[in-house]
């Protein structure tokens, strides 16, 4: 199956099996990709990417859902200005995720920051984020390298940076 999509800002034409998971595509079919997460059952949470600006587990996305989609892996995300908010939050909290889950946890943080951005515009049951919810969301990645209090500290700090960025932009 031929699929045209954008991966980390580059327009790519892929020839892959229609049901091949996105994590396998990123590892095997995309040149110069450093993506490395082979779990294939959605249980480790190490393969998070942004698909059309929404965080997804790439092992749960089949190739046929990628037609004209925009995929942003951690490599691409690091080139955006949003990455600095989370990186500074890691520095502030003096705790970083381990190299194995760094990419995935960062993208989960990013998806939560986008959620609170939307919450300020529109109230809904699924966008209320308290400390417990933040820890639960990060629990999608099963690596235990960050304590709950560190996760909350990082998230709150990153949210402050993001809020300031939005205020400056407005």
């Amino acid at each position: 199956m031929k699929i045209e999509c954008t991966i980390d800002g580059k327009r790519i034409l892929l020839t892959v099996n229609s049901n091949k998971p996105l994590n396998s595509i990123l590892m095997e079919d995309v040149e110069q990709s450093n993506f490395n997460a082979k779990c294939s059952d959605g249980n480790c949470g190490n393969c998070v990417v942004l698909l059309n600006d929404t965080a997804v587990l790439s092992c749960l996305i089949p190739a046929f859902r990628l037609r004209n989609a925009h995929v942003l892996t951690f490599e691409g995300y690091r080139r955006t200005r949003f990455w600095h908010d989370i990186e500074r939050a890691y520095e502030d909290a003096k705790s970083h995720p381990c190299p194995l889950c760094h990419a995935s946890k960062t993208l989960i943080f990013e998806s939560l920051l986008r959620t609170i951005g939307k919450t300020e515009e529109k109230e809904s049951t699924d966008s209320n984020l308290d400390d417990e919810a933040v820890v639960k969301e990060l629990g999608l990645n099963r690596c235990m390298c960050l304590e709950a209090n560190e996760i909350i500290e990082i998230f709150n700090s990153a949210a402050n940076y993001r809020r300031r960025r939005r205020v400056r932009r407005n």
């Binding site: 099996n17 749960l60 966008s127």
Partner: protein, 295 residues
């Protein structure tokens, strides 16, 4: 590694008429909703016998949410996140809690209500909660000469062992949730159905009472690999009881529950049985508390 692997043909119907036509032309194709369950199976890819896929993602009828004075009607391709966004005022409390417990936001954005009800060998908490809330489900038969549909209660969707009773070309198209609310409702959950299916237990219980006398009492346990349990004998026994339950009464009902689980002929681990009994006791104590506060 991928030698001999066939790339399945993908059919993307844009309407229910297209779906009927695709089903008749490709009778062995599988229906694809959110894909979270299918893709989380260890043998999903690579596999040599991949069937063609009918993706339901672009059928507007299946994504519709309709609200009337009496009920909320949800298309089967509505995602769990979209359903939660409807708000607490509209969704019953135990359903909101069940949906939130179904997975993290990333999973909820992808999983659909129809797909969550139709998982092959894994029963998720949503089945039990919808059964307790007496929701109705529209089943469409797609291989009939004319599109043929019927409404059933959620409990009828599964047999006694928790297996899905849908035929090959039958599909859930809508879920109807009534606005009638019970006086007391609770949802309790332990364990993750994906990581530890042999340990996970979910309880949904609703109860109505009038002047401290129970008029309506329904509960359902969902165990991912042990199916779907409604114990009508215990429900009947609880009806007509004066609240609060005495400690002896609670212990007796919990003991009956344990025996009923033993007699249900499904594989339930000791941990699940113990959790089920304790959840039931907790729910009854909570019910006592609420009834005493309201006096």
């Amino acid at each position: 590694m991928y030698e001999g692997i066939r790339s399945p043909a993908i059919h993307v119907p844009k309407s229910m008429t297209d779906l009927l036509s695709a089903t008749s032309r490709f009778p062995n194709a599988i229906y694809w909703a959110g894909g979270t369950y299918i893709m989380s199976r260890h043998d999903y890819y690579p596999t040599k016998d991949s069937n063609d896929i009918i993706s339901l993602n672009e059928i507007p009828d299946l994504k519709r949410i309709n609200r009337t004075d009496r009920y909320l009607e949800i298309g089967s391709m509505v995602t769990i996140s979209q359903l939660l966004q409807i708000g607490k005022q509209v969704l019953p409390d135990p359903l909101t809690q069940t949906l939130q417990a179904l997975g993290t936001r990333i999973i909820r954005n992808q999983a659909t209500i129809g797909g969550s009800l139709c998982t092959g060998d894994l029963r998720l908490a949503i089945s039990g909660t919808l059964a307790v809330l007496r929701t109705e489900i529209e089943i469409k038969k797609l291989d009939a000469p004319r599109s043929d549909s019927r409404w059933i209660t959620t409990g009828k969707l599964y047999d006694r062992s928790g297996a899905l009773t849908l035929d090959k070309h039958e599909m859930i198209t809508r879920v109807r949730i009534g606005f009638d609310r019970e006086d007391f409702s609770i949802f309790l959950s332990a364990g993750n159905p994906m990581y530890n299916p042999q340990e996970s237990v979910n309880l949904a219980l609703v109860c109505s009472y009038n002047q401290s006398v129970i008029t309506n009492f329904r509960f359902c346990f969902t165990m991912p690999t042990g199916g779907f349990h409604q114990f009508q004998d215990i429900e009947v026994l609880a009806r007509g009881t004066m609240l609060p339950f005495s400690p002896n009464h609670i212990a007796r009902l919990a003991k009956m529950l344990g025996e009923a689980i033993d007699n249900s002929h499904v594989t339930v681990s000791l941990l699940q049985k113990e959790r089920a009994k304790r959840f039931f006791e907790v729910a009854l104590h909570q019910l006592n508390t609420q009834s005493l506060i309201e006096r």
